[in-house]
């Protein structure tokens, strides 16, 4: 009886290990693709980007002739259900947000997860950053906590960008 149960567990563990083994690379590649795509989305008109030597989640968008066109930061924070991860694009002058993209979210389907919709994210394109770094946003009806979390993550990203410029 115990040996049968043990046998099932072993077969299960072995097959899961095998399937994870052949899929892990693809899953990681998908994740990298999402972030890469997001960096190009949030800093318009760039040709390439490089990564900060100490902060692997701080990216510098480069134009065709190698000039820094803007910054992108991958930053997370706690939303209503769990972690929200954003990529925030900030202009080289640090005076404007150039765009925001949602990389990961487990917010409530139909409510909080509307932070991924264009109708919400488009407001950040070319949004001015006030001197105190506190931005004003149009929240989503019925998803105040998720909207506030996005605002908080963006404000942290702005603070980090100011600190990290190299």
């Amino acid at each position: 009886m115990v040996s049968v149960l043990l046998g099932f567990c072993l077969v299960s563990a072995a097959s899961l290990g095998y399937i994870y083994g052949i899929s892990a690379e693809r899953i990681e590649e998908n994740r990298r693709q999402v972030i890469r795509q997001s960096i190009f989305n949030v800093i318009p008109g760039i040709d390439d980007y490089d990564v900060h030597p100490e902060d692997r989640s701080f990216f510098r968008g480069l134009s065709e002739d190698g000039i820094v066109a803007g910054y992108a930061l991958q930053r997370g924070g706690i939303g209503f259900q769990g972690e929200i991860v954003l990529v925030v694009g900030i202009a080289e002058s640090l005076e404007k947000i150039t765009g925001v993209d949602v990389v990961e979210t487990v917010e409530t389907p139909g409510l909080g997860d509307r932070i991924r919709d264009g109708s919400f994210l488009n407001q950040f394109i070319n949004m001015d950053i006030p001197d105190d770094g506190k931005i004003k946003i149009d929240g989503i009806t019925g998803a105040t906590m998720s909207s506030d979390a996005v605002k908080r993550i963006i404000e942290n990203a702005i603070k980090d960008a100011e600190k990290r410029i190299y």
């Binding site: 149960l5 299960s12 899961l16 994870y20 693809r26 899953i27 998908n30 409510l111 019925g142």
Partner: protein
């Protein structure tokens, strides 16, 4: 025989309307038609594959530990579904998020192993679990569509209500799930009662 076992899950013994099993995903993910369809199909995959394995191995599973064995088999297929979605359908995986691992606690799946596949040969088990899975799926799509149309004015992401339509936000909130499911179950009972009388 084969047809009978398949058909029963679609209407007569529908897991959602008749057995009232698997209520958690039924209520939680049906905020849109697409989510309902993806959850339904993922559940169908899990109930079908674990049904096949349980049916093949039913004679060597000791009755004293059958529940843990079923749980291990089901959890294995749920994890496979989760990994495969993440690797090959990242968009759907992002859409369903934490609900895929939660398929493991859907009592519809454990219910089929206990009630049917552990006592029946493989061909009947395939018919039974496939019928149950698809019966679950069509209901989730219907529920998701009703909620999406009333709550957001769209179905499968396509706008079908006129722009003057005021969305009923409550329909995509949890309360909307209970209201819609309650009305559907009442409607289902009404039809069955009428059938019985005539």
């Amino acid at each position: 025989m084969l047809k009978k076992e398949f058909i029963k899950g679609l209407w007569k013994e529908n897991p959602v309307l008749r057995q009232l099993l698997g209520m958690c995903p039924t209520l939680a993910v049906t905020t849109s038609s697409l989510n309902g369809a993806a959850m339904g199909l993922a559940t169908t995959f899990v109930v079908l594959s674990s049904g096949i394995v349980v049916s093949i191995l039913r004679k060597i599973i000791p009755p004293q530990v059958r529940i843990p064995v079923f749980a291990v088999i089901i959890a294995t297929f749920v994890t496979i579904a989760d990994i495969v979605l993440k690797a090959h359908f990242p968009l759907i995986s992002r859409e369903l998020g934490p609900y895929v691992p939660l398929i493991v606690v859907n009592c519809l799946i454990m219910g089929r192993q206990e009630a049917f596949t552990s006592k029946n040969p493989i061909h009947l088990s395939i018919a039974d679990t496939l019928g149950m899975g698809l019966g679950f799926t069509w209901l989730l799509v219907l529920l998701g569509s009703i909620r999406e149309i009333m709550g957001m004015g769209t179905v499968f992401g396509m706008r079908i209500m006129p722009s003057t339509f005021e969305e009923w936000i409550i329909m995509v909130l949890p309360a909307g799930a209970f209201i819609t499911l309650g009305l559907l179950a009442a409607f289902y009972n009404m039809i069955n009662e009428k059938k019985m009388r005539s």
